[in-house]
């Protein structure tokens, strides 16, 4: 299954209530509890990868919020580089609650 098919499958499971209300709450917290809007949500067999763009000054605050939340598997930071050195791409990988 590619990324798109997995996202579609997750959408259908959400819509048909095959994912419990409690799991919906957890997933929502995992993705949105930081207060930053995700720019990409990538679904894979193992979980969800969420990308955020944040300013340099917000990176520490974002990472602090991520560390206390559930299902965290990894955080990757990518400076956007010479075009905009104060912007960072933050990739957050999580396991998916049942």
């Amino acid at each position: 299954m590619d990324k798109k098919q997995l996202a579609t499958a997750l959408t259908k499971r959400l819509a048909s209530r095959k994912i419990s209300d409690a799991a919906v709450g957890e997933l929502a917290d995992d993705i949105f509890a930081t207060g930053h809007a995700p720019i990409d949500i990538d679904v894979c067999q193992n979980g969800v990868c969420v990308d955020y763009f944040v300013d340099r000054t917000q990176v520490g605050e974002l990472v602090d919020k991520l560390e206390v939340s559930r299902n965290l598997r990894g955080i990757r930071l990518f400076p956007k580089g010479i075009i905009d050195p104060d912007r960072f791409l933050v990739q957050v990988e999580r396991g998916l609650a049942g």
């Binding site: 959408t11 819509a15 919906v24 929502a28 207060g35």
Partner: protein, 360 residues
Amino acid sequence: MPAGFFDSCVVQVHPTLRCNLSCAHCYSSSSPRERGELPPDTLIRRLERLRREGFDVVSFSGGEPLMYGGFDEVAAAAVAMGFRVTMITNGLLLTERRIDVLQGVLSLVGVSLDGAPHRHDRLRGVSGAFDKLERRLRMLRDRNVTFGLSHCVTRESIEDLPWLIDYAIEHGAALVQMHPLTMAGRATETCRGLALSDADLGRVFLIAELQRIQTDRQLAIQVDIAAATQLRAHRRRLALLDDDAPPSLVARQLAEFVNPVVMDERGQLLPLAYGIATEQSLTEHPYLDWDRALDAYKATGASALRDLLTDAFESIEREAPRFLDWYGYLVALSRARVGTAAPSRIHILPALLSHPATPT
């Protein structure tokens, strides 16, 4: 920069409650029996004032806007003033001739679609309504009119959302709006048990977010639900809540501080959402005319609205919802503060304009 969470400064106009349908979930109980409407010349004069106040989008709703006698005249006048004009319609009165007239006037046509065919027909109360609508969508597409599908999400219709996205792409819609049902108007009688639970709001929000990203910009997705964390993070976009907000708005444009505004079928101007308590009105005044009442409101620095917004954020802190229908929340809170009845469903088509529509 516009005040609030929209990218445009929006006037929502509800010029009549007359409608060719009596939908089960209608927030305003519109129906063919309603008769009153806002005189076109009055509406045009008020839009001129609102253009000077910095608003740049007019969004017609109702009732059914195509049943408003002055629709073509007012829409053309609004375009001449420099507004972008949109409408939301049930689509059934769209004819080829009507579309040709409106094609150069409307930037976007929002068409209401309540789910899969059987569900749409049931809520509309008309057998075959879906088939008729589909023919109108084909007409819009054939004439390259940019259109979106506006879906009122109920507890039952959540299961139709994947179908809705596929349907929108297949029929060339530029966007899909998902708006949660609010129990108001006729819905309080006929849609009991169909309102979304807190978990359902999260479910819809996640579906929209997944689809927004996965449709590769082929289709814009607008969901009228906010994550409370994001709402708090973006509070600074509400200029009225700035410590530096001026005590009087007389020297400033209204749209910098109050956006969107709503003109109802009586011509009353309200902040943010249809159905908000009339105590929040910008223009209801015991002895001043509409323009002078608006001047007087600006002189107060919109203090009533500032108080309401402050209360709303305090209330969100206390109740800690994960997700909420922000404008519906404000309507309910405004009414609770003055002890009036159930909230009205908000109508938020202009939010669609946050996503510049691109014909596919």
